[in-house]
Symmetry: C2
Subunit: 155 residues, 2 copies
């Protein structure tokens, strides 16, 4: 067992998502459309001891810098996550994910009768974030409340 | 970005599954019933350059030694995988996965009319491995052929 294959070294270029809520690393990569069948090296560590969170998950994506709207999506399921953008081994940007107060168009309302689900009406979904943790979103149109589990099912 | 949080070091005790066919690390952990919501540290690396396979995936499971029947399951989707059992940082056992010629009871036949799917008959499924790569399994009872995609849907 060589050290070389077993260690995952610092990445040269890409994104490190740290402080992901335990158990959500796989949801984060699913949200980002990563299935491992293409692209650069992806490293995932789950159940890692953390001073801040007790236990946390980490995801490293080589060769890809997350866009702001992708960072917003992550905030839905991992509100404590920090995003580090890496270029040439250096952190050039470090930010915490931040859930906007109003979420436009990313999610679908779980109420099938909601006007935002009507095929004849071109209405974009709008949700108000009533609580970040536990996650609680209220539909602008029909008032339906969605929780984390409802959000996870959509990705 | 400290080295400490970014490097995944050698594991003390557990299992390293190496040389997983690219794109199948997530299927391997699903097959093993791992969702990251409990247990020890799990590390996954996808799309890692490999001399043997070009590109490969690796999974490290701390604090758990895979059983032979679990190793057999992995062979269904990652026929080149190698399994290293680690104790106190040393590889105490190294083996290649090996698909048995006949698979008993792990899989369900995709033919709903197959007698092995009958609720009234207590018949265990039996499949003959006609080809390992690409995977091709033949049901003992009804002759239905199953391929890798059919197997993946069952885990």
């Amino acid at each position: 067992m060589s050290k070389k294959t077993l260690r995952v070294s610092k990445i040269k270029d890409g994104t490190v998502i740290d402080h992901i809520t335990r158990g959500h690393a796989l949801n984060v990569i699913r949200m980002l459309g990563i299935n491992g069948r293409g692209g650069g090296v992806i490293t995932i560590a789950m159940n890692v001891p953390s001073q801040k969170l007790g236990v946390k998950d980490i995801v490293k994506i080589e060769g890809r810098e997350l866009k702001p709207e992708e960072v917003d999506k992550i905030a839905l399921i991992a509100p404590h996550a920090t995003i580090n953008i890496i270029r040439n081994y250096k952190v050039i940007e470090k930010q915490r994910v931040k859930l906007p107060q109003i979420i436009h168009g990313i999610l679908k309302c779980i109420n099938p009768a909601c006007i935002s689900n009507s095929e004849s009406e071109p209405v974009k979904s709008i949700f108000y974030v009533e609580s970040e943790e536990p996650l609680r979103l209220r539909c602008h149109y029909c008032g339906t409340i969605m929780e984390k589990e409802d959000v996870l099912k959509q990705f």
